[in-house]
């Protein structure tokens, strides 16, 4: 059979539908973690409660950074649309930096807790807290790796159709993580105070 370069046009809507369904499944995964958190939130086993542990100002900064990164992803998409490789690349790099900062802040928060002697072994509440927030963090970490790959691919191949398809999917993924974070912010952190 003869070889040919692939035209990807007809695959576009297939992959985005597939990716949407994947996001739904990820949503269900988070839903089970949220449900478990809801059941275990008061199971502190004599250990500290959320109200005693969380510093809302710190979390607010994390939240703003993540929201800002959602904005820069949007800008990167815009760069694609106007055909500017420079804008697309710089905005992607900025997104990666913001994502990295968010992760660093989160790791710092975790380390702080562990340092004070409050680990995931302390109580069921803290087990579910570390797991829920950590799973979101793991997703962010994977997203940052994906970003590094995307930036390199755009650097190499420019704004071609494959890269365009991928950056759209990435943006979906990133906004989705933003949404999950809003839930974490309101249920885990705000919910602990009220």
């Amino acid at each position: 059979m003869s070889q040919a370069n692939t035209s990807i046009a007809p695959h576009n809507d297939k992959s985005s539908l597939g990716f949407w369904i994947y996001l739904m499944t990820d949503c269900v995964l988070f839903a089970s973690l949220f449900a478990t958190f809801a059941v275990l939130r008061n199971a502190t086993a004599g250990g500290p409660t959320g109200a005693e542990l969380f510093d809302l100002n710190y979390i607010l900064i994390e939240t703003l950074i993540l929201l800002a990164s959602s904005f820069t992803v949007g800008m990167a998409l815009l760069g694609f649309r106007v055909g500017s490789k420079r804008i697309a690349l710089s905005m992607l790099v900025l997104t990666g930096l913001l994502g990295g900062t968010f992760l660093a802040l989160e790791i710092n928060e975790f380390q702080h807790l562990i340092h004070e002697g409050f680990t995931w072994q302390t109580s069921a509440f803290l087990s579910s807290f570390f797991t829920l927030v950590g799973t979101h963090g793991l997703h962010i970490a994977i997203g940052v790796l994906w970003l590094v790959y995307l930036a390199a691919a755009i650097y190499r191949h420019g704004l071609d159709s494959i890269n365009k398809k991928r950056i759209v999917l990435f943006a979906l993924f990133w906004h989705f993580l933003d949404l999950i974070w809003i839930f974490i912010f309101s249920i885990v952190y705000l919910g602990a105070k009220f």
């Binding site: 003869s2 040919a4 692939t6 597939g18 499944t25 089970s32 275990l40 995931w120 072994q121 302390t122």
Partner: protein, 649 residues
């Protein structure tokens, strides 16, 4: 360096050594055979790296058949133990080993036989039935298969190195927690189904998109064959329930690996949360398995009655109703665990409600046969066996839906008999019917009919002999998972009858293997020349047998339900090559295989706490994904010349 792994991981008990030797012997035998026949290259190029959905389907079926034999072996050991279990002195198995065996039996039969056969049949047939050339994401399909294979490899590794879980197939904590199961058994259980489960999840996404996006021109959703509808329902269930399993297993694993307290009995842990979560996956899982079987029977009954399916629309509604309702019944698996009267009443009623759409289907099939010109071929034998056994199983199931009755029957052999009634009489018979029916489409010749009918009869008789005694024993008070009991209870006679039933089932499987072997040997007598050996109704019969790698040179145009039947009535000309347009097919890729091997290694590393191995495997998996993403030349163009030269041979 090697974590928990040491020489003491190798088996020492004679029965366990026997199991280990049979696995190693089988593996060595296969390797020697392939080497002697010089088939490695062929195997790699034609099968292991293939992205053709039909070949992937065949590989699923082969794995499922091998695992069926393994699971049957476990079942025989359990039957033997319970026959002589009235006298503890002559027990074949230690209690610990017996527990591992019933856990492995359940895990293997559900995850690696039923799920494997289901994804196998869907792969073999669904794209052709939709008039498509492949699934939506062929590469992802190969990854799914190899993740499934990887999980299967881990389960069987536990026979040789270490042990398997002794907790029952749902591994309830706190028993499955670190405190009560410190060994590697539960970790083997977690990681084998975690890896296979992620494969299933990816398959689920793949088939949903295939159904929604790859249908032939003109095939609106309401012109889709019922099998495709049933797969759509099942795959929606996969997509929305398997993530719960993934999360639950991850949490159980975190309890075991990092000392967390999700499900422990101290520090605020809540074991009931696990039971709720796992059944929120587990109940939909039952329908994931049975819905495609319903779809298969719908196609078979219509074909062999020579009529269009009675009540197509009600069938669609019933499938979707089951899909939805199966999320609101999970609590019926633990009525006895203190949910309270109102909660139990709600879930009891919902469970009775879900029986209604299922009943609708049975009547639809019977009405399809009514006044039809029914041909009693071997697939129809499986159908008749199904109707009888499944209806009995359904009725004993509705009994369980009444919480007060369930308090009596919970954890008894009555329950065990009930779900085997559904899984064997419903799921397994359905898949056997489907495999017999579609065999010529895949291999180009039919299976021997006489042996097929004999196998169906033997299975039905074996099934009744093996499980009716369990219903009776359950009512007499025998609980499940007993490795011995007091002789004065008088149960032994019935256990002997059940054991005879198990032997008859083994004979039935033997007849099926003979059927396959004999049919291959004498295939010249049963060649399918025109691609339509049963006078079929749906599109898969409109292409040649065995179907070409691209299924259809020219995509069929669909104008009605039972599109091929409509064509055959002279309503439409068959597709001509004049309208041919070149198309793309995926090239082979070894990366799915590679990811599967790496996942097995990573799983093994986590089980034995060999962390450097896990890190290496994880890095290599990421590398494989990047490698695939960088490959911008993954398809090949098929032209008219290619097709004509392939047709000439």
């Amino acid at each position: 360096m090697l974590g928990r792994l040491g020489w003491d991981a190798l088996p020492y008990d004679p029965v366990v050594i026997g199991g280990a030797l049979s696995v190693v012997g089988g593996l060595v035998g296969i390797i020697v055979l392939i080497t002697v026949l010089k088939r490695w290259k062929w195997l790699y190029k034609e099968w292991l790296t293939s992205l053709d959905h039909k070949k992937i389907g065949v590989m699923y079926i082969v794995v499922a058949l091998v695992m069926l034999i393994r699971g049957l072996g476990d079942a025989l050991l359990m039957r033997l133990q319970q026959i002589i279990g009235s006298n503890e002195a002559n027990a074949v198995l230690t209690s610990e080993h017996f527990q591992q065996i019933f856990t492995a039996h359940g895990t293997i039969m559900i995850f690696f036989v039923a799920m494997g056969a289901m994804f196998g049949i869907i792969n073999l047939i669904l794209p052709q039935m939709l008039g498509a050339r492949d699934v939506a994401f062929p590469f992802l399909n190969s990854v799914s298969f190899w993740l499934f294979f990887s999980g299967m490899a881990l389960v069987n590794t536990s026979l040789i190195i270490g042990e398997f879980a002794a907790t029952g197939w749902m591994a309830y904590p706190p028993l499955s927690g670190l405190e009560y199961s410190p060994g590697v058994g539960v970790d083997y259980w977690i990681w084998s189904i975690q890896i296979a489960g992620i494969g299933s999840l990816l398959s689920g996404i793949n088939f949903i998109v295939t159904i929604l996006k790859e249908r032939a021109p003109g095939m609106s959703l309401m012109k889709m064959p019922i099998f495709a509808w049933s797969v759509l329902g099942a795959m929606i269930l996969v997509a929305f329930s398997f993530p719960i399993l993934t999360g639950t297993l991850a949490m159980l694993s975190l309890d075991r690996l990092m000392g967390m307290h999700f499900f422990t009995s101290d520090m605020g842990g809540n074991p009931m949360m696990y039971i709720n979560l796992i059944w929120a996956w587990g109940h939909p899982e039952v329908y994931i398995l049975i819905l495609p079987a319903f779809g298969i029977f719908s196609e078979i009954v219509a074909t062999f009655s020579g009529k269009k399916l009675f009540g197509y629309k009600s069938m669609v509604v019933a499938i979707m109703a089951i899909t939805f309702l199966s999320y609101v019944v999970w609590l019926h698996h633990f009525f006895t665990m203190g949910g309270g009267a109102n909660v139990n009443a709600f879930f009891g009623i919902m469970t009775m409600v879900i029986a209604i759409p299922t009943g609708v289907k049975v009547f639809n099939w019977l009405f399809t046969m009514y006044r039809g010109r029914v041909r009693f071929t071997s697939p129809m034998y499986w159908f008749m066996g199904f109707v009888v056994t499944f209806t009995i199983g359904g009725m004993t199931g509705v009994l369980h839906a009444i919480p007060a009755v369930d308090f009596q029957l919970h954890n008894s052999l009555f329950l065990v008999a009930h779900f085997h009634n559904m899984i064997i009489g419903g799921v397994l018979f359905g898949y056997f019917a489907g495999l017999t029916y579609w065999f010529p489409k895949i291999f180009g010749f039919k299976l021997h009919e006489g042996l097929g009918k004999l196998a169906a009869w033997t299975w039905i008789i074996g099934f009744v002999t093996a499980f009716v005694p369990l219903y009776v024993l359950g009512l007499m008070g025998a609980t499940r998972r007993l490795d011995h009991y007091d002789a004065s209870l008088g149960w032994q006679g019935l256990f002997i009858v059940a054991g005879i039933g198990a032997v008859i089932i083994v004979i039935a499987v033997g007849i099926q293997l003979l059927q396959i072997g004999y049919s291959i040997w004498t295939r010249k007598q049963r060649i399918d020349h025109n691609g339509d050996p049963w006078d079929g109704r749906t599109l898969e019969w409109s292409t040649t047998s065995p179907s070409p790698s691209y299924n259809f040179a020219v995509l069929p145009q669909v104008k009605s339900i039972d599109a091929f039947w409509y064509q055959k009535q002279g309503n439409e000309n068959k597709n001509e090559m004049e309208t041919f347009q070149p198309f793309h097919l995926p090239k082979n890729s070894g990366i799915g295989l590679f990811i599967g091997i790496l996942s097995t290694i990573a799983g093994f590393g986590i089980i034995w706490h060999i962390w450097w191995l896990v890190i290496i495997a994880a890095v290599l998996i990421i590398y494989s994904i990047v490698h695939r993403a960088n490959d911008r030349d993954t398809e090949m163009l098929v032209t008219k010349k290619d097709i004509l030269s392939e047709a000439m041979g």
